[in-house]
């Protein structure tokens, strides 16, 4: 049933977009590929799981997990990326390797602290499924779609209607000139990390709820799928990332729903990526015509 699959696709695509948004915001300002963003996704899922286990309150779990993970992001930038990037003539591979290291570290910390096994993410919504006509909706799906829409609305408002957002857009476009006209570009970077890592944390919790489980290896697939989404979205473009995330989510869902996959589902993102790079290397949305 088509409508059902479209809903599925939007839901999965929202999670993808949310996961990749941090990498986009960070690339937009620092021009580095932050694989550790997928580590924020793992950390966020574990923080959320722990808070929910202790309090039974899902709102608190989202709120605090996002805040803690966002703040960790700011600290990681302050004490790891900023010192690396301040060295003269640094090769782009150096921060990339640092971010892979951080990502691996996150998974292993989760393994050490919470144990290697799967943790159940039992969130009780009161009802199991809601039937609307022929459409079957799981409450977690509504949560995911609504919360993602809300977070992206907040992001849009911050970027387009606040002074800090203006600074972010100016810095993303030309960091040197932004500095020279009086912008403390560190604040734009901090904004990228708070929002980016916070969003990744929310995505981690969502996936935990959706599949009712988390493991320390949770971030492995997102760590590379995220890359194809941000490249597809035109590297550093928030709007492009939303579109690319939804697009990949939709294609994956449709192919597996209609048994068109003679290949593993997770490779779809890369096949789409290769095709797009062959046809339109600047990504679906090129950076020059959007924020």
């Amino acid at each position: 049933m088509l409508l059902q699959q479209i809903l599925n696709g939007i839901m999965i695509g929202s999670v993808y977009a949310l996961t990749a948004m941090g990498a986009t915001l960070i690339y937009g300002i620092l021009r580095i590929l932050d694989i550790a963003n997928a580590g924020a996704y793992v950390a966020g899922a574990y923080f959320g799981w722990f808070i929910y286990l202790k309090t039974g309150n899902l709102v608190l779990a989202f709120l605090f997990s996002m805040m803690i993970t966002g703040l960790i992001g700011v600290l990681i930038h302050r004490f790891i990326y900023a010192p690396i990037l301040s060295k003269p003539r640094i090769l782009p591979i150096v921060p990339l390797v640092a971010s892979v290291g951080l990502f691996t570290l996150t998974g292993d910390l989760a393994r050490l602290i919470a144990g290697p096994g799967t943790k159940a993410y039992n969130v009780d919504f009161g009802v199991d499924v809601i039937n609307i006509g022929k459409l079957t909706v799981v409450p977690a799906w509504i949560l995911i779609i609504v919360l993602t829409a809300l977070l992206f609305t907040v992001l849009w408002l911050v970027l387009n209607k606040t002074k800090l957002g203006l600074a972010w857009r100016a810095t993303a476009e030309d960091a040197d000139i932004a500095k020279a006209v009086g912008i403390n570009t560190n604040s734009a970077m901090a904004l990228s990390y708070i929002l980016g890592y916070g969003f990744a944390a929310a995505a981690g919790i969502m996936v935990g709820i959706l599949y009712n489980s988390i493991t320390p290896a949770l971030g492995e697939v997102p760590s590379y799928k995220m890359l194809s989404i941000i490249v597809l979205g035109g590297l550093g473009s928030p709007v492009g990332t939303v579109i690319a995330g939804l697009f990949i989510g939709m294609v994956e869902t449709m192919l597996s729903a209609y048994n068109l996959t003679f290949i593993p589902k997770d490779s779809v993102a890369f096949i789409v990526l290769i095709l797009v790079l062959l046809i339109k290397p600047s990504g679906l949305i090129s950076k020059t015509n959007n924020i």
Partner: protein, 234 residues
């Protein structure tokens, strides 16, 4: 206002500026002229804080500024009009000017300063909702100057204002720079168009391959044989 002492700047092993000494007094309009690759843009970037110095000192109003980030220098009253304009193309004209006001906190003052720029360049007010990248080169140059003016700089650094502009725009830009200087803003311009630059300046420096080879009042520079031959086409 601006004093540079034994400034050395290098890209890797390559020395671009070798022990430069230069001074711009309060209220002056000073040009630095010289051929392509002499180090003019590097000089202005180092003053602004976009390029690190290897040795030497730079003082703004007596205060040593080397090591300070660019935004602190902007807050101190250094305005910058970069080579090639470099307006924020994906932002509207008005947003570009608001970015320029970033270090100001008083909303009323911000509006006043933007209004002043619109009075200076009515063209910008007509296009305030337009994305900067859709404007002509001349309009972008006005915006780049406006963006530097909104934060009321006491020292204005202008890099190759004439580059890539139609003659009529070049004349307009130089006239505006002269007017701004008459209103009390200290200005340092770096320019390949030596003729036009010297016409509006009080003093000039000639920069060649990283060395200041001449320094004098414009009258004397214009009568100097070497300058006439090399830069004024005489």
């Amino acid at each position: 206002m601006l004093k540079i002492v034994d400034l050395e700047v290098a890209y890797g092993q390559m020395e671009v500026l070798k022990k430069i000494n230069l001074e711009v007094k309060k209220g002056e309009l000073v040009s630095v002229i010289g051929p392509n690759g002499a180090g003019k843009t590097t000089l202005i970037k180092t003053i602004m804080g976009l390029k690190d110095a290897k040795a030497g000192q730079i003082f703004i109003e007596g205060k040593e500024i080397l090591g300070m980030p660019a935004w602190k220098r902007a807050e101190m009253g250094v305005g910058y009009v970069p080579e090639g304009r470099r307006v924020f193309g994906n932002l509207t004209v008005e947003e570009n000017l608001r970015v320029g006001c970033y270090s100001l906190n008083d909303t009323k003052k911000i509006q006043q300063n933007i209004k002043k720029v619109y009075e200076l360049f009515p063209r910008l007010e007509e296009r305030k909702k337009q994305l900067a990248r859709t404007m002509s080169g001349g309009e972008q140059q006005m915006l780049a100057i406006g963006r530097a003016l909104v934060m009321e700089p006491r020292l204005l650094l202008i890099d190759e204002v004439s580059m890539g502009l139609m003659p009529i725009m070049v004349n307009l830009c130089f006239k505006i720079i002269k007017d701004l200087n008459d209103q009390g803003i200290t200005v340092m311009i770096v320019e390949q168009n030596a003729n036009k630059a010297l016409k509006i300046s009080h003093r000039g420096y000639v920069l060649e391959t990283g060395n200041i080879v001449l320094e004098d009042t414009v009258e004397k520079l214009r009568n100097n044989d070497v300058v006439q031959k090399a830069y004024l086409g005489g």
